[in-house]
Amino acid sequence: MRQQSFEQQYGDQWQALKLLLDDLALSRRKRRLSADELEQLPHLYRQVCNHYALARSRHYSPALVSQLHDLVLRGHRRLYRRRGAGLWRLVAFIASGFPVALRRNARYFWLATALFLLPGLLVGGYCYSNPEIIYSVLDSAEVASMESMYDPENRKPGREMERSSETDFVMFGVYISNNIGIGFRTFAGGVLYGVGTLFLLLFNGVVIGAVAGHLTRVGYQDTFWPFVSGHGSFELTAIAICGAAGLMLAHALIAPGQLTRLGALKVRAADALTLVMGAALMLVVAAFIEAFWSSSSVAIAIKYTVAALLWLVVVLYLGFAGSGSTRGDDGS
């Protein structure tokens, strides 16, 4: 069959597919075609795929081939696109997707927790037994500012600024951008064979441990511990979860198993993303608690009680939420 008669025979179908794709590219409200007409897409698309293959194998002119290729490419993109995520997906994600994904990858979480916690405890213990050690972790200016923050004379712990109602809001913004950024970097470091994740977990563990040990040593425990115990539940757990997500990437690269490194990374990254996004939401909660609750001047006993409750909430949520659901994986 010659090119010209080929075009005459099938040109109408190409035109129909083009109109269909143009219509689908519009938003739902602007579409002119009925649902029945839109349902023609798979059929028409496969017809044109066939024509494209014919045109190529018969060496028809390049312009015709590229015209058909363009139609096929657009059709393919339309037909095989992934479903978007709706708001209800977010609810499902919080209710079950995230905690279930975390439990499925529990061993990474415990490894990350160990990497975060053990150096912290070790350095914290050192700093508690010897008040000079802190200066090998932080420089003297940092130590001074940290001490002034938790000085019992200071009327609002955890702050350097004057106490005002607006300070809470400012600090909320600081915590959001700072902590979630750290969480994301901890995750991203996993793609460097885990070196970045490892470094950030150890570094943050050491600094937090050193500060805690030192402040307890110099007698600021009644300002420091009530302040950090509440939001620490969400914050520290979330950082460990981001670390776990980073370790998942690292594991895929170091020991890909049956897959290629690239294939393992792709599979594992989708799962790890669930953990990171969940941790980001936890960090938002933590920032909220830290800005508006931890800094308040409520009695110490109440703060400790609330902190215990918050820890319980975190443990129960991560340990049991969504365990009744059959659809464990939301496949985000």
Partner: protein, 227 residues
């Protein structure tokens, strides 16, 4: 064939062709985005500067959101950030479909690792070590950055009478004749004559007459009688 063209075989068994974008054009796109991002930082800062402490919180959160999610929002909505759009690029999955939210999140969260130690050092290294110019984020997300080939209006063959070409032309040679005829509007007359003279053995003419004759052959190939 261009060496940056990648084939993806669809479930229908046909090969889709995608042209992969290289580091230079992507760096340009990133630079444009950088300017836009800084513009956004400025707008956010000016907008909320009058709201005291709460305004500062909004500025901090706004800058954080732009820093991490600016590419995600645009990629999910239109497949490309404004910078990529300006350079004619598109982000797609390995199978050529539009990038989804989760893939876009992965590729953009991993920018930090790509950026390391400075100015996308690792990202560039990674790009140079694979055939698809993927940076680390693209590898984990399974995405490609390709040229967004917009179909230009198809050229009609020049209207001449059809003339049967000499026998024994291979498929590729016929293909070349057709391509030459279809591109005739894009070439100057001198250039066409120059190209046609390469085939003076076939046409047995020189200059403009040779061009006409090749066009006539192409017309016969496209519409000819018989077969």
């Amino acid at each position: 064939m261009l060496d940056t063209a990648r084939q993806y075989e669809t479930p229908e068994g046909i090969d889709l062709e995608m042209r992969i974008a290289g580091p230079v054009v992507r760096a340009c796109a990133w630079a444009i985005d950088l300017v836009i991002r800084f513009g956004l930082y400025g707008v956010i800062s000016i907008l909320f500067a009058f709201f005291g402490g709460i305004g500062v919180a909004f500025i901090l959160i706004g800058i954080f959101l732009v820093e991490w999610f600016y590419p995600v929002i645009f990629e999910v909505r239109t497949g490309a950030t404004p910078g990529k759009k300006a350079m004619g690029l598109l982000v797609v999955h390995d199978n050529g479909t539009p990038v989804s939210l989760s893939s876009s999140l992965i590729r953009n969260l991993l920018r930090t690792a790509d950026f390391f130690p400075f100015l996308y050092g690792f990202g560039l290294l990674a790009m140079l070590f694979n055939y698809e110019f993927k940076r680390l984020g693209d590898m984990a997300a399974g995405t490609l950055v390709v040229y967004d080939d917009r179909q230009v209006e198809r050229m009609a063959l020049p209207a001449t009478e059809a003339l049967r070409p000499p026998a024994g032309l291979t498929g590729d040679e016929q293909h070349t004749l057709l391509a030459f005829a279809e591109r005739s509007t894009l070439l100057s007359d001198d250039r066409k004559a120059e190209l046609a003279e390469i085939l003076s053995d076939l046409t047995e003419t020189q200059g403009q007459a040779g061009v006409e004759k090749l066009h006539a052959y192409a017309n016969w190939l496209a519409s000819g009688r018989g077969k």
